[in-house]
């Protein structure tokens, strides 16, 4: 259909329709991710241990930063919007290494 050959597909239908009712999982299941093998973002949990704000935890729109019981952070790169919020709100040098996924991989928006 286009120069690049991409076909914006149809999204998922989410049953129900009351907003508070949508679980975060259902919300994220509406987004297409072509997950690559390389983690394009890494988090150094040792640095996070000394962080008092843990700003990433609530600000990341994909909710990918999970605080651990030892005061660190468990991070999963797979369902990431590649937005940049995390490295901008983090004020600990070296905590986050941020790159883009390899070409063609990562999030694919159809209704952006």
């Amino acid at each position: 259909m286009s120069a690049a050959g991409g076909v914006p597909g149809s999204g998922h239908e989410v049953p129900g329709g009351t907003w508070r009712g949508i679980s975060f999982e259902d919300r994220m299941s509406t987004v297409e991710f072509r997950v690559g093998e390389r983690a394009h973002i890494t988090v150094d949990s040792d640095v996070c241990r000394s962080c008092t704000t843990k700003a990433c935890v609530t600000a990341c729109p994909a909710n990918l930063f999970a605080p651990t019981s030892e005061g660190g952070i468990l991070f999963n790169y797979e369902e990431c919007f590649e937005c940049g919020t995390c490295y901008m709100v983090c004020n600990h040098e070296g905590a986050i290494t941020w790159t883009y996924p390899d070409g063609g991989l990562g999030v694919v928006f159809h209704h952006g």
């Binding site: 259909m1 286009s2 120069a3 690049a4 050959g5 991409g6 076909v7 914006p8 999204g11 998922h12 239908e13 989410v14 049953p15 129900g16 329709g17 907003w19 508070r20 949508i22 975060f24 259902d26 919300r27 994220m28 509406t30 987004v31 072509r34 704000t53 700003a55 609530t58 600000a59 729109p61 994909a62 909710n63 919007f81 590649e82 937005c83 940049g84 919020t85 490295y87 901008m88 709100v89 790159t99 883009y100 996924p101 390899d102 070409g103 063609g104 990562g106 999030v107 694919v108 928006f109 159809h110 209704h111 952006g112």
Partner: protein
């Protein structure tokens, strides 16, 4: 037309550039740059990291298309439009109240139109196709991972994540969006400053077209644009609602440092908005089709990077060109305008045989002479005003309460006089009449 899976044979070993220009990012800025250059007969390769143009991009959104008049005459006959915006509403709200200024124009529903709703997977693809038809080579699924420099430090191309994927060119045009890793690598932009950025989160909701028509008072192809202030729990920002053909886009825009500090999750603020008594009835029965998030460079004129260096230009969001001054949220038209100007400047520089910063300097003066930098310069103080504490946290409630005081009938108590009402409402919201007057004057200055 290229479903370009193959990186064009680069001049790996030779010093001669394979292209006149390599443009990084097939968003509106990059495709406009490539279009202008291809039209001028220059060889240009357009590199996009997503599988198709638009696949990484998120906006509200409304595109104001008039910037295309010259390059794609009659663009409105072929652009992938959802609806033409004929109604624009600005809403001030509290958790339970809202006051809207609602403007409707029949002229906006006729060519050449004003704004259109469209989705980026289709719009960006369309514009990239225009560039390809003009002769640009589009390479998707390819990340520009860094800059190539010659012995003098001059930028001479980009590295990509393809095998042997070096692309050499006379000029690199960085149209790589808000996070612009290339502008940072080139030293044109300081490390990202959270306070100059907002996070936009958006839900696209399925709703049948005829239901949208009825609920929003629209006829087929007509659309509405609603901007909202006061709906983000005091976090500087705002909300938006746009009608597409069979979907509605609803979202909030949030100042990054304040979002981080508030410890609120962004999707909770969308949920607030969807449950607001002024919004919920519009969306009854709508279901989530896609959730999305993206940053906006909101700092405006005073936060823009240096736009030109030896062998490289920066355009669009990579140069912080979104005009996000409360009443406006326009970035696509600014990206296209700056891309076209970048293309012209590169063409001139190559013709003159000087692609140094000096040879490319006409880019900046071109932008100053047209809306791109003229609008930004005029409204350079607007971001600070619009994101200020009183505008964000006090005025929406103050204004709603003023209107409430005027329209709530309190018989047998007589109606309050205007001055007394204003004073008491202002006091309730912690604003002095003196500040109200000063802010009015300031607003007139900033927007006047």
């Amino acid at each position: 037309m290229g479903k370009a899976d193959v990186v064009p044979t680069p001049g790996v070993s030779s010093d001669t550039p394979a292209f006149d220009a390599v443009v990084v990012g097939a968003g509106p800025a990059g495709s406009a740059t490539a279009l202008a250059l291809a039209r001028a007969g220059r060889s240009v390769v357009l590199v996009e990291r997503g599988p198709f143009p638009g696949s990484k991009n998120v906006y509200g959104g409304v595109v104001y298309g008039r910037v295309l008049d010259e390059v794609v005459p009659g663009w409105w006959n072929e652009v992938p439009v959802e609806r033409w915006v004929v109604r624009r509403s600005t809403m001030m709200m509290t958790g339970t109240q809202s006051l809207a200024v609602d403007y409707r124009s029949a002229a906006w529903g006729e060519a050449p139109y004003n704004g259109m709703t469209t989705v980026r997977s289709r719009f960006d693809n369309w514009l990239a196709t225009k560039a390809v038809e003009a002769g640009a080579q589009l390479v998707t699924s390819t990340v520009a991972t860094g800059l190539l420099r010659d012995g003098h430090g001059r930028i001479v191309g980009v590295r990509t994540d393809r095998d042997q994927g070096e692309l050499r060119a006379n000029v690199v045009v960085a149209c790589d969006g808000v996070n612009s890793l290339l502008a940072k690598e080139a030293g044109l932009m300081a490390p990202a400053e959270a306070s100059h950025h907002t996070l936009g989160v958006k839900e696209v909701l399925d709703l049948p077209g005829h239901v949208i028509d009825e609920r929003f008072g629209l006829r087929r192809d007509e659309g509405v644009d609603i901007e909202m202030l006061g709906c983000t729990r005091g976090i500087p920002g705002g909300g938006f609602l746009y009608t597409n053909s069979d979907t509605v886009s609803l979202g909030v825009v949030l100042s990054l440092p304040h979002l981080a500090e508030a410890k609120v999750r962004p999707e909770e603020l969308i949920a607030d908005l969807k449950n607001h008594p002024s919004v919920a009835p519009y969306l009854r029965g709508a279901t989530l089709r896609e959730y999305a998030a993206h940053l906006i460079p909101e700092g405006g004129y005073d936060t823009m990077p240096t736009m030109v260096t030896d062998g490289m230009l920066v355009a669009g969001d990579a140069a912080a060109m979104t005009l996000a001054a409360g009443l406006w949220l326009e970035g696509v038209n600014f990206a296209i305008g700056s891309g076209l100007a970048a293309g012209r400047a590169v063409d001139r520089a190559i013709a003159a045989g000087d692609c140094s910063a000096k040879g490319l300097a006409s880019y900046r003066s071109d932008l100053e002479g047209q809306f791109v930098l003229a609008d930004h310069k005029r409204f350079r103080k607007a971001p600070a005003l619009v994101l200020s504490e009183r505008i964000q946290q006090r005025y929406p409630g103050l204004i709603c309460d003023l209107v409430d005081g005027m329209f709530t009938v309190t018989n047998p108590v007589p109606k309050p006089g205007g001055v007394r009402l204003t004073r008491s409402v202002a006091a309730k919201h912690g604003v002095k009449l003196r500040q109200l007057a000063a802010d009015t004057v300031r607003a007139l200055r900033v927007f006047g």
